[in-house]
Amino acid sequence: MITLQPGEITVGGVALHNHLLLAAGVLGTTGASLGRMLRLGAGGVVTKSIGPEPNPGHHGPCLVRTEGGLLNAMGLPNPSKEFVGEIEPLKDDPVVVSIYGKDPEDFKEVAGWFAETARGFELNVSCPHAAGYGAAIGTDPEMVLECTRAVASHGLPVWVKLTPNVTDITTIGLAAEKGGASAIVAVNTVRAMRISTELRRPVLGYRSGGLSGKAIFPVAVKCVWDLYEACSIPIIGCGGVSTANDVVEMMMAGAQAVEVGSAVVDDVRVFEQIARGLYSGDGVAAEEIVGVAHHA
């Protein structure tokens, strides 16, 4: 298998220790938890999505395992502004703050709280299980453009995390690019649900939610592929990445870095595991493989 040169990289305006980031929503509710993932080998971390008001999230069950993936409807739980103090001790680390809101003003306000501590922002315009938030915004190109522009006004890198639950993801990617995004993150979870046949009702408290994990890896690869063809800004792959080969595949589709989330359910040391297979002293430069499959 192809291996990469180890070392620091910069993607979408953010300097990272390696190509592997902790994805938003996973082990990102506290500073200590994010710090642990950095110690365990994440090249950077994306926080839990922070919104304008503290939010307890949905009633349970919020998350269950299903074949090849995780199904969740957490409902964007977060402590809002109190989170500023959580990441204060990590201000010298590559921490990207994920943000959600209902309109550009919300996004701009929340980003403003973190302008001194964050290395960049990731806009959550893609959560599939929060009425009025997330994908409700991310399926509207004009809203994506305006929210991106509003946060970009703070002068820090802005990544926009897209939903795969659209007919053409490139129209949303181009809207983010036009709004001044430094990178696109593809993708958030895929709308999904399970029903307990024994209890004759949907398993999740919110009834439906989003699917992540291995099951959606091919969906994510296709989204990255399409965005690479259409957009000029860097792409960060996300969705079902759990091995070094997945990282290489995602990069060949066009990603410059990847986010890893659900794979932590197998082992909290997943970053070390992937890095062991991904990097070697005689590895190639990442630029040599990013998007290479498009030229075959």
Partner: protein, 264 residues
């Protein structure tokens, strides 16, 4: 892939036993094969899903505290619950074990005691009526009782009973109960130089139960109560948030009343 549960499985309530005025045990089928100290996520359909210690492979013992437990108190034999589990690490004991339980915290320790793994059991409650499982525990270990109001056993808190115990004589000290009680136990273990022999079953707000969401992560190490715990050694807990604060559903810190007083 570790041995983690997939979708919740349905269990049927077979019997409901009123243990004390505020605590009931729900016996169910089928059994959830598990080790003492492990827990399950209990889905009360239409209400919520909450973590509960197993008091045996076929029972959970519940105190009425919130929406989900209030709904559970309406359950009758024949009703259904969804269960994900067993989850977490459980107690790991060998040799001579001391168990210290307060209130409904006696539930996971009962599981340990009936397996014959507890030599001495210190059991505390507010009042005699609230003492949990005393006859059963008495049958399998040397039981000592304390009640806050003196209506049974020693008049005082359960940690008072530690005065007459040679802590160094025990290989393991397994503890479950209100956090203030566990904090007092830890202080005594530390004083005796045996904090590393303590195994404390921690209670924190949980959402996913399988180590992904991070809502139960503790400070400063970021350990997950649902996956790295719920049982931690006393040595793990020294210098941690233990006894000072927990977090609510939003992830905001909630400082314990006694810790607030200490800061003032």
């Amino acid at each position: 892939m570790p041995d983690l549960p997939m979708l919740p499985v349905r269990v049927t309530v077979k019997a409901v036993v009123e243990e004390t005025p505020s605590v009931r045990t729900f016996y169910f089928e089928p059994a959830i094969p598990s080790s003492p100290g492990q827990f399950v996520m209990v889905w009360v359909p239409g209400v919520d899903e909450v973590p509960m210690a197993l008091s045996s492979a076929t029972s959970i013992t519940v105190q009425q505290v919130g929406d989900a437990t209030t709904a559970m108190f309406l359950l009758r034999p024949g009703d259904s619950l969804g269960i994900r589990g067993p989850l977490g690490n459980g107690f790991t004991v060998s040799g001579k074990t001391l168990a210290i339980g307060g209130g409904v915290g006696a539930a996971p320790l009962l599981h340990l005691a009936v397996e014959g793994q507890v030599s001495t059991f210190l059991l505390g409650a507010r009042t005699a009526d609230e003492l949990l499982f005393a006859p059963v525990i008495n049958a399998s270990s040397n039981l000592k009782i304390a009640t806050d109001d003196g209506t049974a056993g020693h008049h005082g808190v359960v940690t008072d009973l530690m005065d007459e115990i040679d802590l160094e004589a025990y290989d393991h000290i397994c503890v479950c109960g209100p956090e203030i009680m566990m904090l007092k136990v830890l202080e005594r273990l530390q004083k005796a130089g045996v904090a590393d022999r303590g195994q404390f079953s921690l209670h924190r707000y949980m959402k996913c139960g399988i180590g992904v969401c991070g809502s139960c992560a503790t400070d400063p190490h970021g350990l997950r109560v649902c996956r790295d715990g719920p049982v931690f050694t006393g040595a793990d807990l020294l210098e941690s948030e233990f006894g000072r604060y927990a977090r609510d559903a939003t992830g905001s810190k909630v400082v314990f009343p006694w810790a607030k007083k200490a800061e003032e």
